[in-house]
């Protein structure tokens, strides 16, 4: 049994957690380089798409939304890792959250930045994306706020802003500590970002209050963001999209995949930065149980959604249901069921099997499964429109694959750079009495 990090002397904690910032290993550079190459390849693919037209994707009438929209929902879902989980844990004063929150909050910010790219990548004329922004313009046109896409834009911009603040606030005390002893350029960076933090009682009090307040705000915003993402689909009159439970269903799926992303990130951080003492079996066990709970909740929603359609037997909806469960898209659907339910249920539901490794395996399984879930929701509906004469199939092309791969590389790169600039575990939270000077 590993010791709880709280029991270590504070100066050692600070040593351990600041150490990764000052050392850049060969392996780190190698992985960043690979991520950079994959990311650049994606940018080249996007450039090709901008130059030639959306025809380079596998999209076709009537499947006008494909992998890009799947990626969009997936990344926005991942972003719920952070903020939502960390906010819930912060508000409920769960002491075990301390080494987990910052890793989660960073996932949120980067996943959101990546997710927010996809609606732009998906535009037929991406260079005109700013036409969706409400500002007085020479075209004398205000954007159409009846469109769920505008709700989306509003929600995501709010969420990005909020989650950056939410990541930044608890960083401030650490930044002040880092500014104290460091290389000159880093000292300048940290001092500027620390906003003159001195650690006075008044400052601690204000920070505490600001973090509590932001946690409340971010909870509401996070729920609304994924609800609005769900409404992009649910507001359309398309069969099996026009569903009342889509809002909560998507929020559940988002938290589900968010926890999986967090567990995976933690497992990697733990191994690479050798933080076994800080991210213990205990933390993984708690998060694994949370993941299992979300898996069951997700299963409940999936059953509610599909069973009612099947029992109702509406021909238009049954065409989509059939495509999902029995025909062209059945492999996606049943793989999704296996990865999202069977794997976590067995690995995390049986106490003897619930280890750090199995939690990581289950998380990877859930991440793949949740990507497939979005695919199963987006594509079969569009491929089977109300007039069956227009129905079709959709297969993505290498362009879509390259851009998708690039976003995973971008996530890895951003996260790695972040972990080199800022301590990935909040140091000051381990201080026995934060208000006191060290």
């Amino acid at each position: 049994m590993a010791t709880a990090p709280e029991l270590l002397p504070y100066h050692q904690i600070r040593e351990d957690l600041f150490r990764p910032l000052s050392r850049v290993s060969r392996r780190y550079l190698f992985v960043t380089l690979i991520a950079f190459i994959v990311g650049t390849a994606g940018l080249v693919a996007w450039g090709f798409q901008l130059r030639r037209g959306m025809g380079v994707t596998g999209l076709q009438r009537p499947v006008f939304w494909g992998v890009y929209i799947v990626d969009f929902v997936f990344w926005i879902g991942i972003s719920h890792a952070g903020t939502l989980i960390s906010a819930i844990l912060r508000l409920t004063d769960a002491a075990w959250r301390k080494p987990v929150t910052r890793a989660a909050e960073a996932i949120t910010v980067f996943a959101l930045m990546i997710g927010a790219m996809f609606p732009i990548i998906h535009l037929g004329r991406a260079w005109l994306f700013y036409w969706l922004l409400p500002y007085p313009n020479s075209r004398l046109i205000w954007p159409n706020f009846r469109s769920p896409l505008l709700w989306d834009l509003t929600a995501i911009v709010t969420y990005v802003t909020g989650s950056i603040i939410y990541l930044y606030l608890p960083l401030i005390p650490d930044l002040a500590q880092l500014a104290a002893h460091n290389t000159p350029w880093r000292r300048r960076l940290y001092r500027a970002l620390a906003l003159g933090w001195t650690g006075s009682d008044r400052e601690w009090h204000a920070l505490e209050r600001a973090m509590k307040l932001m946690a409340c705000i971010i909870l509401a915003v996070a729920v609304s963001v994924h609800t609005v993402v769900a409404w992009d689909f649910a507001m359309a009159v398309a069969p099996m999209w026009h569903s009342t439970i889509f809002g909560p269903y998507f929020v559940t799926g988002a938290i589900f995949s968010g926890i999986a992303a967090l567990v995976l990130a933690m497992a990697i951080i733990r191994k690479v930065l050798r933080l076994e003492v800080y991210l213990t079996k205990h933390h993984f066990d708690r998060l694994a149980k949370l993941l299992l709970l979300m898996s069951l909740l997700w299963l409940y929603f999936t059953l509610a959604e599909n069973l009612t359609v099947w029992y109702g037997n509406d021909p238009k909806e049954m065409a989509v249901f059939g495509a999902r469960t029995r025909a062209h898209y059945a492999p996606y659907f049943w793989t999704m069921m296996f990865l999202n339910f069977a794997v976590p249920f067995v690995l995390l539901g049986i106490r003897r099997l619930r280890t750090i490794t199995s939690a990581t395996v289950a998380s990877v399984s859930v991440l793949i499964g949740m990507w497939l879930e979005r695919f199963v929701i987006v594509v079969p509906t569009l491929a089977n429109p109300r007039l069956s004469s227009a129905s079709s199939f959709y297969t993505p092309t290498w362009i879509e694959a390259a851009i998708t791969a690039a976003t995973f590389a971008a996530m890895a790169m951003l996260y790695m750079i972040f972990a080199k600039l800022f301590p990935i575990i909040a140091v000051w939270e381990f201080k026995p009495h934060p208000q006191e000077d060290d």
């Binding site: 006008f64 939304w65 954007p143 834009l153």
Partner: protein, 228 residues
Amino acid sequence: MEHRWGMAIDLDRCTGCEACVVACHAENNLPVSTPEQAAQGRTAHWIRVDRYYEGEFPDVKVKHMPVLCQHCDDAPCEPVCPVYATYHNAEGLNVQVYNRCVGTFYCANNCPYTVRYFNWFAPEWPEPLPLQHNPDVAVRPAGVMEKCTFCIQRIKRTKENAAQEGRPLADGDVLPACVQSCPAEAMVFGDLNDPESKVSRLAQHGRASRLLEELGTKPKVFYLQKVK
């Protein structure tokens, strides 16, 4: 609202010859697709002829149904466009403004009739087709959505001609390309505001119904067919 344009299509007359499709291509500068593009689902026909089969082989009956933009009064495509590229004009037409379109595809997803077409690439025509482009119709760039306009350029020109001649528009003056070219005279176009117009009378006919009427989109295309 001075006019409210609508169409009636007699399915019992339609032979499925697709003359309307060809006429529409010529009138509206629609690109011509290669067999490969067609196999990829990248064709653009503002009007298409859907086929429905009844009975078992060899006793099969084919029913043809030309499907074009239904110019719904409550069009699901309109509220979802974030940039007002598609909206309802004063004459009840569902209008697409190409210059305003940024290509979110949302309108096409929300169209229950799947009659919206996207410009996947910059349009191309094999020689000598570029020579017959219609100067009254814009050629659409890559990245924008498009669809049937009820030949709005013809409506405008006919109104201008009538105004110059100092006479009111008569029923049957406006002929969209598909209506004009239909050899079976299965298609009728006119003003639904005028109760005496041919299209208004056909819309009241016992054989008339509208496509996916149950969705409440209030389409302005009426299909006539004998219900057995």
